[in-house]
């Protein structure tokens, strides 16, 4: 059996590693809790820990998640759910490399309609989307046959769905799609279906929102919740030495500059960067019961641990143990 925790490359007990992390984070001037590829309980526990520490919270995949969110909260959007899209869409446009998840069979809620599926790809997506929107607005412009076909299909559709991945197209392209969708709803029905970012980013954003009012890139340095997509960008903070203590949750931990503390909570086999302390965790949903955002249903889903691969603690339990020690440490100071 392998060890559960390591401090400076040496095997340690889980308790010793938890105590060491708590000590180092409490001593940090500007701690950062990042990665955040975890389940809902993990996100809630990470939030509570960050609140106690006055720390910043960011997610490994926040750029894509925030790109979608930025469009919604700057101007608004009309979206659907994956299940409604499957049941109702008679026209599906896959933008970029978004995977085709919807069957080509007729939509069960409107079985007399055929379902047509198109892909909109290629260079210079912004230009193509601009042309598409102009065509749909009735402008007479020259465009290639593919684009013309898609424009005609969207106009003729009774319930079209446009799928995209924010990791794959520019924020401006997302904005263009959302406005195009709004235009189409003057006469017919058309909705967006953004592909959620990986690492349970959608679930983590939800949990942080009900805990704090904000998604990730959330900071408690001033004692209350603040949200700033630039200031609380974990990668930027690490590069600019704006943090001195990083607790990374999940895979793909970065290597931090010399003198910066890094601890990692992650399943065995994860990339732990140049972490000083590592604690192996259960994989939520596999080794331990978990609530995760399920892209298939577009909602949170409870996933029982079917065949646990180990008896390690889930991230939430470790985070709660760290937080309990932080309280004591603060109280005795």
């Amino acid at each position: 059996m392998t060890a559960e925790a390591w401090i400076a490359g040496r095997e340690a007990t889980r308790g010793a590693a938890i105590a060491a992390i708590a000590r180092r984070l409490v001593a940090s001037a500007n701690p950062l809790v990042a990665g955040l590829a975890t389940d809902i309980a993990g996100a809630e526990a990470a939030h509570d820990l960050a609140q106690r520490l006055g720390a910043v919270l960011d997610h490994r995949h926040s750029p894509a998640a925030l790109a979608d969110l930025a469009v919604m909260r700057e101007s608004g959007w009309l979206v659907t759910t994956p299940m409604e899209a499957r049941a109702m869409a008679d026209c599906v446009v896959l933008v970029g490399t978004t995977p085709p998840d919807l069957p080509h069979s007729p939509p069960p809620f409107a079985p007399e309609r055929a379902r047509r599926v198109f892909r909109l790809a290629g260079e210079d997506m912004m230009l193509r989307l601009g042309l598409l929107r102009a065509m749909l607005a009735g402008r007479r412009i020259a465009a290639d046959a593919d684009l013309t076909t898609i424009a005609q299909a969207l106009r003729a559709a009774r319930y079209a769905v446009i799928c995209w991945s924010a990791a794959d197209i520019s924020p401006l392209a997302i904005e263009m799609l959302c406005r195009l969708i709004e235009d189409l709803n003057d006469t017919t029905r058309c909705f967006g279906l953004p592909t959620p970012a990986p690492g349970n980013a959608a679930g983590v954003a939800q949990a942080l929102a009900w805990k704090s009012g904000f998604p990730f890139r959330l900071g408690y340095a001033r004692g209350r919740a603040e949200h700033d997509p630039w200031r609380f960008d974990a990668a930027r903070m690490i590069a600019a030495h704006e943090t001195d203590g990083v607790l990374w949750i999940g895979d793909e931990a970065p290597s931090v500059p010399a003198g910066m503390f890094l601890a990692v909570l992650a399943p065995e086999g994860s990339d732990t960067g140049n972490a000083e302390i590592v604690i192996s965790t259960a994989t939520p949903g596999r080794d331990a019961d978990a609530i995760l955002f399920d892209p298939m249903i577009g909602a949170l889903r409870f996933q029982r641990a079917a065949v646990p691969q180990n008896t390690l603690s889930p991230p939430a339990a470790i985070l709660e143990a760290i937080a309990a020690l932080c309280d004591q440490t603060v109280a005795t100071c």
Partner: protein, 536 residues
Amino acid sequence: MLTRISGGRIIDPTTGRDEIGDLWIEDQRIVAAPGRAADLDCDASGMIVLAGAIDIHSHIAGANVNTARLLLPELHDGAMFAGAPPGEWIGRLFAAMGYTTVVEPAISPHAALQAQRELAAIPFIDKAILAVLGNDDFTLRLIRAGETSALADYAARTLGASGGLGIKTINPGGAVAFRENARSFSLDDEVPRWGLSSRAIMRALQGAVAALGVPHPLHLHSNNLGLPGNVETALATIAAAEGERLHLAHLQFYSYGAEGPRKFSSAAARLAEAVNAAPNISVDVGQVMFGQTVTISSDVLRQFGARAQASPRKFAITEAEGNGGGIVPYRYRRKNFFNAVQWAAGLELFLLIHDPWRVFFTTDHPNGAPFTAYPDLFALLMDRDLRARWIAGLPEDAMAMTTLPSLTREYDWREIAIMTRAAPARLLGLRDRGHLAPGARADIAVYRPQADRAAMFRNAEMVFKDGKLILRRGEVVRRHFGQALRVAPGFDRAIESRLEAYYDNVFGVPLQAFDVPEAAIARKDQPAFESVPCRA
């Protein structure tokens, strides 16, 4: 642990008690005077002692509420939060006002897990959800096929899986019409491709809820919310209930005539008369108060139409299997003719509906106003002079379209206690809440009378939950977590295999993907759910 709350005026409409006296608590329950000394004595001399308040309709959790949080980061400032505070603040601010139970009234069964998990994170209070049916394809299939008992089984299965306390329906058929490109939808409009009217869906669901013995009657968000002249819809809906129990949510939003130079007027007086004449009907008001808020509704058709009035100018509309929903920020302004009429219409309903057992105190939080406006609203109901001062500051032409300036009624303490305690407990079937008789759960609010009634209601002098003193004058004394209340009526399990096949065929996902098991929301120290019995 024996606690005595001594020397307060105890007002308990359920038992008819209204006297200066002592109230005894042993552990979690109210007990008769035990004839021994208390471990803890809380002096309530000169104060008012009521059961903890129960809110039957406030949007405090779920995907739509959380989307509202994500939509409006710029408005999360201090404790204002633009009508969608984080869970921690919801619990604390409600409890400070003496509320100990709050119902989130609009949860899609497909998103119940998130709602229950959010509720589990709200401290201090008990909470519950109403599960939404009536725009979902499976309900419509059963109604069209006339499968009355299967519909009841389906409703029961949904309540069990989502952990709901009751069933709500929202503009029934309207969301289906919306996805088929309808722009409006009324009581007798036909749901496209179904040959069913909204009326038929409502009647079928009323029947299912009654057949299951669920204490709370069908909770209806009617058609045509917010439109001029929609009082006709509300009156027709009351008639359509045909004497069977029905709860009409946020009635203020349906109390509009189309009179006057601006074709918008209050028809609240007419509507109140109809409610007075229909003992099967209960209503909550959905009072408008002035200021910034955000509208959160599963009436996707209505919210789609409301985008043009968004302030700030943005929105999030989700079309979904079932209801979907829409989030549209909005600011009610004193100087706005329409908003002033809305404000007056809500107060007219409060003051003109005679029976405090059938009219419930809500702002449809946050649609009419955030729940943090409750203290001002209580004050307005209890003080006609205060109302007159508000009226004097509002557009005269708006007040001319209402009867409010002529109304002199003032709510007394007993009526407040009925409307916010005794009646909601009865409406929801919560037998050990909303009153102060021995055996009741010791959820208690103690208020210190003062000239500024709003201040009195904003921060109760003492609030007890499950027998423990949790807040004093708004400050936390002891952190506490309540439970989720649900009903679990029995049903014929045959519906499950039908549903499993249906989910597999239509959605390609297992039915159980949406269930809320106890393990998903349980806290370490207590069970997640408390079951409320159904009638046999």
